[in-house]
Amino acid sequence: MIPGPVPASADAVIAVAVTVPVLLIAGGSALLLRSRGRRRSGEGPAAPDPATTATTRPKPGRGPSTGQKPDTTRPSPEVRAAATTGTRAPAPEAPTEAAPAPAPEPAEAAPAPEPATYRGRMGKARGLLAGYLGAVRSKGRIDAATWDDLEEALIRADVGVGATDALLDDLRGRVKAGDISGPDVLIEALRDDLVAALSADAAPLAVPGTRPPTPGDDGADERPVDVWLFVGVNGVGKTTTVGKVANRLAAGGTTVLLAAGDTFRAAAAEQLGMWAERAGAEIVRGAEGGDPSSVVFDAVQRAASRGHPVVLADTAGRLHNKVNLIEELKKIRRVADRPPGRVVEVLLVLDATTGQNGLAQAKVFLEAVDVSGVVLTKLDGTAKGGIVVAIQRELGLPVKLVGLGEGVDDLIDFDPSAFVDALF
């Protein structure tokens, strides 16, 4: 087959001929030795079974072409339908923030659960930073130990080495320049810097149904359907968050429609279905193992025909380093963005216990589907969620929502001031 009129270049040919062999040598020989070693030593479960591991990277939305071995990371719809037993395993359990906890939250004193607040929920875990800051304040002057304490406080909050160094270097400069006199002022300055960092690029959550209808091709008004996509790695709380958001919107008088875009995990649609019931929202599901894009498409169509202004689309958890799954997500977004649908929010759901990998997650998802904001979940635990500082600084991604518990009301808007105060 003759390639089209692409200007060939000797440079490019050389580039291929140089880089690919390096790759092959490094990788291929290692593979060879590994398989030899394996055969020799009869290595056990460490080696993935060759019969089931060879795979192709399925093109987005399509199953593998004939003659290729089934994808093992996640079988395509066709393969999954064909495969019956044994080799399939849905993703790890979804977040458990579901039914109102039978045991009352310690923050609740009155019979009616009090609204979730930062201080209330993070209060239990406050002791950590408060201890460091207490030590800093009590000294009366700024010395080497001060910086150690502050650094330790930030690192333990998962702010990360890079962002911590940047923040503290800046403050050190200001102390040297005489702008900061003592520990109290220093702490205030740190607090202000953190709040500023978290407030930059702040953007409010979209309000459904407020966009003016766009005139269609034939001049008639077409009321668009807002689509909010919820994305993220496995186990972070996407489905529960969708449920909470649905409830909030419904309580505010907006009719929502839920799209059970997680067609992979066992009982994921059932789980979302229970949330739909709670919120009094309609839900569109697909066949288990079906194409998630078509579920979202159907949901948008249904919403348009019924006059629902917004579709909340749950998606399957996916690790960001799985190329084929990220491709699948890109397709979901493309489909969701077709009229009458219009993607107005792509919310990356992030677990507050996540360490520095959260930044890697944010980078990949941002690049892939243009994330518009972060939902930080499980902030009622001991983790501080400081990774959002790095995410904001490096990627300009704002946190929009915070999950503070398993109850349906445990969702609040992100408030940088309150967040930083609760850290301290």
């Binding site: 050389i14 395993a89 994921a268 799985k322 996540t354 635990g381």
Partner: protein
Amino acid sequence: MFESLTDRFDGILTRLRSRGRLSPADIDEVLREIRTALLEADVELGVVRGFVDAVRQRCVGLELSQSLSPGQQVIKIVNEELTGILGGESLRISYASHPPTVILLAGLQGSGKTTTSAKLARWFKQQGRNPLLVGADLQRPAAVEQLRVLGAQAGITVFSEPTDAVAVAAAGLEEARRLGRDVLIVDTAGRLSIDEALMEEVRQIAGVVAPDYTFLVIDAMTGQDAVATAASFHEALTLDGVILTKLDGDARGGAALSVKEVVGRPIAFASTGEKLDDFDLFHPDRMADRILGMGDVLSLIEQAERTFDEGVATKGAAAIVEGRFTLEDFLEQLQQVKKMGSVSGMLSMLPGVSKDLKQASSMVDDRQIGQVEAIIRSMTPSERIDPSTIDGSRRVRIANGSGTATADVNALLKQFKEMQKMMKGFGKGKGGMAGGLGALFGKGRGGMPSPEAMAQMAEMGEQSELAALGAGGPFAGAGAPGRPGGGGGGGGARGKGGKGGKKGKGGGRVTPKAR
């Protein structure tokens, strides 16, 4: 930009070659790098401190060896320390004298307990046991359904009832006895370690089932919080081990080190994917490499194993190693490489790859690979096996057939020749092919090359290639791919008749061969 840890150390320690030992100042600087690396890997701060002190002890008075660079020596120490902490005694399941052997899983929400329960059950089944799964997560909607589906996939019975968690656990134990099962695995709801009521609940569950093994299930991407969580669960339940999940992600996984230090119990299992069989005994040495940021090589290999057809890959590798790599082999491998995704992405995963090479690889995308493929496809099979037969007129034919210019064909042939030379020399290094490569790999962990070895290989390959191109090569001022007209040197002369010296029928080997 992330240099590998070895690079960073070598940067600090290069001035040391004249001196014999590491001075305290040198050690401090290096330890600072180690501290940063470990924090970036999410190892908990207190654990990092203790670790760095231990390494300091070993570095003081360290004599610089002849064969390893100082950076490599320090890495070796760090690696050994890490592996030591992560490893130690591995967990041996000893079955209860009165069945069933009870296993309790606990952890935070979203850590992967439900899937892990099913995987563990399947693992026991493979050991010849007869397990029963108990769905005691009544908190999360459809959690029990999920477990039932997984159980069905694995062919393992799941027991649950809509009462309460403690009652279900107790009833599950009864059911296991009734059915004569010898292993009972209890999945529980995720819970915060600071939620007193739920921690009390899991204590009660443990009370009624009296587990033989209690495992904390923890996500490999957990940050500094790992220690607080592990310590709390350990205090409440007295853990017997830890199961690390989602290791198929690219988190460095420092939480493993933190938890091991704090809990002092083995990391028993590693969960490495979404399928039920993505479940394995934990490998401390691989985790140590990963935490140090040298684990990408392993992911690369694993990714390759997943996407490469193993037959094609080993065939190609054998050809390389045995010095008989042909254009035919190259074509096969090119197709595999295309499937794997971005070449530059993969190259960036190899430690020690130079900037030049990375820049070169950024020029390579599917289109470029496609062009090279087209060129090779326009050759006859015998031409592919013996490219020395490809004279000027054949080159023109090939260029026309592939829609490229003869200069491109020339470039490929020239490069390929260099590549073959390099591969031959590579295989023969240090006496014999397998021996040569084997020597590079040091202690094989089941035949796995160490990341240092991988780096050396990549470097060797790269240096030969770049040397063949001449200093600067075509990448000096490399522009966008597909630039017409060619750029700087290295490519064949863009003249008529291709390479000089092979005009028409000159020379003895240009007789046209039968196709």
